[in-house]
Symmetry: C2
Subunit: 216 residues, 2 copies
């Protein structure tokens, strides 16, 4: 259980505050807009209306006591920057900032931000990956050329047994589990028959996963 303060209750900050509260953490939600603070007050541990560019206002709520503070101010870059500098000056251990451009990320890091996030750009990259591999339902990059992927059963394998398919030797991927409707088959055995709508969770090298998912 950790303690988080979120400054800026736009779409990103608001969702983050609520999600962290749902994960069981102590959450303080902050915004200069009192209406926004009012709208979130029942969904978080604490809520406060203040201008985070004012160091005294932050000191008054003992912001230095938080392990992590997230600055989710978007359009007013100067406010984001000033807030970040204030937080570091008041001894906040980890400051995570939302940023709109690469240049802003750079400036924020130089001024003490421990981590910077570009929500729209990150979402765009994930969607581009998802759209690029239609046979792959979901793809998890493990780094170093390895991935785990959720893929639809390649057609040629339908109605064959795992033993017949000899997937590890012929296709160089590991089947971690098979999803069949609401059922899950873990470490499927050699005599398991693969069915047309099965979804496979596979592990292996990126190239092998890609080739395997494209089998025709």
């Amino acid at each position: 259980q950790q303690e988080f303060a979120i400054i800026g209750l736009g779409r990103f900050g608001y969702s983050l505050a609520v999600a962290l509260e749902e994960h069981g953490h102590t959450v303080m939600a902050i915004d200069k807009d009192t209406k926004l603070v009012q709208s979130i007050v029942d969904l978080v541990t604490h809520a406060a209306s203040l201008d985070s560019t004012q160091e005294d206002a932050l000191k008054a709520i003992d912001i230095g006591a938080f392990d992590t503070v997230i600055v989710a101010i978007g359009n007013d870059f100067e406010a984001n920057l000033l807030t970040t500098v204030n937080l570091k000056a008041l001894g906040v251990r980890r400051v995570i900032c939302k940023s709109q451009t690469n240049r802003q990320c750079d400036i924020l890091r130089r001024l003490g931000a421990d981590q910077v996030i570009q929500p729209e750009q990150n979402s765009a990259h994930r969607l581009a990956e998802e759209l690029s591999t239609p046979a792959i339902i979901e793809h998890f990059n493990l780094g170093q050329g390895y991935s785990v992927a959720e893929i639809m059963l390649p057609n040629p394998l339908a109605w064959k047994s795992m033993g017949q398919c000899d997937i590890r030797n012929k296709h160089h991927v590991n089947i971690l589990l098979i999803k069949r409707g609401d059922e899950v088959l873990i470490s499927p055995r050699a005599d398991t028959i693969l069915q047309k709508d099965d979804i496979l969770i596979v592990f292996g090298e990126d190239l092998h996963i890609s080739q395997f998912s494209n089998l025709t």
Copy 2:
């Protein structure tokens, strides 16, 4: 190789257009703002400046020929909506829309959107997950209670062999691979000695992964 059109070159749309082009697809980038169109023209296959609420303007560039069109218009919800309706009327097979609120998602789906995305909210949920599990570097939910996770080596296991640790039987997780600096050890053998800064990729049930990553 697919053909995508992206309408709206804000941070999300712009990043998406460039990312899809880098994935090797044919990309048409569209915005009513000619300056934005100019700024992206060398980074994509085609770029056009037009008002997507005008069905004729969309017809003129043969938008119906695209498999997938992404509507990345944010603040002007009416423009987003009109554009979506136009695209479906012109026969675009898959329309993916950016949306700012749950209510907007609902309306867009009723009016024909095949998929809706909330970039800021999605990023917030991912960050909340990442912040909630510090011993877990990265977490991939496979559904049905199973996950793959990248975790730091639990301290008690340092300098023991895989055989000694007997991880599958004692901790009920599967070690898919070990990352050691730039090296990768796949299907580590029983005599592999675990080292202090090793990073493990584990597969198993969520609860077992969580318990394993918290071993002290």
